[in-house]
Symmetry: C2
């Protein structure tokens, strides 16, 4: 569905620069001219690689999504710990992510806020990312022996998103830790 353009060095560099600007300043607030200038590249190169600003936005969100999933899955780990521990460790993953890559809130929530139209790719990708998170939680909840894994997963999503937003708007401190403590109560009845 998406033509996966082969990446060149200049293309990768543009994507890296644009990702930082999009996240820090907002997608609509940043123009292609500014991106090209910041990357030390001509607009032609940018358009040769990404086709349009929207193409660049999609590439930005896709790359961010991949990094997020990798971060989460690596933090959670596989064997060696119980499913219940893995469920709770998603909040440790979130804490690290917030500190290192997410001071300004969730990039997908922000992208969706800037593009309310559900048919817009940015909005659709945000929905997609949250769907992945919910299904990932559902899988972990099943493994942990929950009788209502879908329901538990939704509650964990609420805690995750709440921790992210509350942190970015300075409504609370140490939000990932607090969310984890609440989650611990929710999974207290699950077998170790």
């Amino acid at each position: 569905m998406e033509k996966e353009k082969r990446m060149t060095p200049a293309g990768e560099h543009v994507l890296r620069v644009a990702s930082g600007m999009f996240y820090r300043e907002g997608i609509r607030a940043v123009g292609v001219e500014a991106i090209a200038a910041e990357a030390g590249v001509t607009k032609k190169t940018l358009y040769d690689r990404f086709g349009s600003k929207e193409g660049l936005i999609v590439a930005y969100l896709r790359a961010r999504d991949e990094r997020w999933r990798a971060w989460m899955e690596e933090s959670v780990g596989g064997e060696g710990r119980s499913a219940k521990e893995r469920l709770l460790s998603t909040f440790d993953a979130l804490e690290g992510w917030i500190q290192h890559e997410n001071p300004r809130g969730c990039g997908f929530v922000n992208a969706a806020a800037e593009n309310p139209d559900p048919s817009h790719p940015a909005h659709a990708m945000a929905v997609e990312q949250k769907k992945w998170l919910r299904e990932y939680f559902t899988k972990l909840a099943e493994e942990a022996g929950s009788e209502t894994p879908g329901d538990l997963a939704e509650r964990l999503v609420i805690l995750h998103e709440g921790a992210t937003v509350a942190h970015s708007l300075e409504a609370a401190t140490d939000t990932a830790r607090k969310a984890k403590e609440i989650a611990a109560i929710l999974v207290a009845d699950l077998p170790e």
Copy 2:
């Protein structure tokens, strides 16, 4: 600090129209020209009333904030129910608000997402609104006899924000109810 311009019929109408457009389509996505046209008013009228687009944005957020606080305080009510009940009823207020005025997520979170610069009025007002919510919860938590009202309030904020975001990105259903159930656990030890 803010010159409170007297409102005229045309001014109020512009504000009402602009509020709907800002919320539905995004602040940056809507131009003053489109607002004036939609309101059936000339740009001169708009600028006479609000001075600038930013002035209109501030008026939009301020009005929304006032409606939100009124909605919350009225839903929670005063006497006749225990402080614990009032704490939990904030989630009923949220549920109604989401259904009637908030299908696209929190207007303040969205505004802050579009304006990452903390010195921007829209961002500052979003932070302010969340601060109010936290302090409101703190007050209710104190009245309910919590030994750590500030901490409890922050956890409730996380649940509120999470429910709002999760709903708007279709990551979960019935989010306010689920958040309320979680909150009920958090306040279970408080006296009736």
